[in-house]
Symmetry: C2
Subunit: 203 residues, 2 copies
């Protein structure tokens, strides 16, 4: 089994954080997305979308999409459960995972694609799209802050996949994408500091 | 239990198609998103994001995000399994579900927001963002076509959640968003005609 990853990329990091939280060790091979190694024919056979992470099983089966890879490990190693166990927990955690992805990661991603000097050579950047993304991302940060006012973790009292994905996302937003969130979002700050202090933050 | 929905909206339709495929009946109440009923305080208490669908349970618990709602019903009523049962199936189906969402629905959504005359009054439309979405959506359609060349359904030999979401998405793209896909995509056309002929298409 090999996990194809890259240190700075936010989506493989979701999986690495998740694996650290589960206590699972998987051999990692880096794919240099800065030189387009992920767009070479050999890699596109593993994932026709050309994105990382990809998990290659010993029989050659490849699983891509970060959360799909996490679900694979959750099914193999149910403890500790990070996707919930009862119907209500499963739904509640998936709802928050999706809110993080749709309201935060996808909007931060718009800023990354259309507004970062680091990607200026890769995309026909649209300044107005970056502004649109920045405005939506601020709404996403506020959504998390409101939730974290009454909850220790994103989906309630315990650490879940929603925290792993939000952790990777917020580190990406405030790191590579050089975004900031409003000082008034003290709950988001408290949570962000907390997940950054967990051992899985080193993943 | 009440499912808050709206006939023309693609995301509640995912859930209605899924329920029809599972043979589950749930009382439906329409929320008129064209007049902003989903942005009123009473509804925002059910879902702070203000989107539909929302499933309200008898104890008042609300679950939003279409796929999270589907997972709730899958956990309550496992047969027929539409999210897979083995670790490999669960991961493979979730991978394709995410490919449909990230490569097709999100790009079609960009065209809807930035390029449709029907939404011109709702958003500060960015023509270049619509063009960017259209180009990416064409790549998403091709991705599905390639997969459907060797598979009857999106994730393999059987109907899954990935088909329900792709069905709703393709009907939305070719309906309200008035997009077309290239005539050469005969596998996508074959699949689209097939899911449109299933009883769940009436949902």
């Amino acid at each position: 089994m090999i996990l194809y990853s890259y240190p700075m990329a936010p989506n493989p990091r979701r999986v690495r954080i998740f694996l650290a939280e589960k206590g699972i060790e998987v051999p990692i091979q880096d794919v240099d997305i800065t030189t387009g190694e992920n767009r070479q024919p050999d890699f596109m056979k593993k994932n026709p979308v050309g994105s990382i992470p990809v998990l290659e099983l010993d029989d050659g089966t490849c699983i891509s999409e970060s959360v799909a890879i996490c679900r694979y490990f959750e099914a193999l190693h149910p403890e500790p459960p990070l996707f919930g166990t009862t119907p209500e927990e499963i739904a509640h955690i998936d709802m928050w995972l999706r809110r993080v992805e749709l309201n935060v990661m996808s909007t931060v991603g718009q800023v990354w694609i259309h507004g970062s000097p680091l990607t200026a050579g890769l995309f026909d950047q649209i300044t107005a799209a970056a502004d649109f993304g920045r405005e939506r991302a601020a709404m996403g940060f506020k959504l998390l802050d409101d939730q974290l006012a009454d909850n220790e973790f994103i989906a309630g009292d315990t650490y879940t996949i929603a925290d792993a994905v939000a952790h990777s996302t917020m580190d990406f937003a405030t790191g590579l994408v050089a975004m900031t969130y409003d000082d008034s979002l003290v709950n988001l700050k408290r949570w962000h500091d907390m997940v950054c202090a967990r051992p899985s933050a080193q993943a």
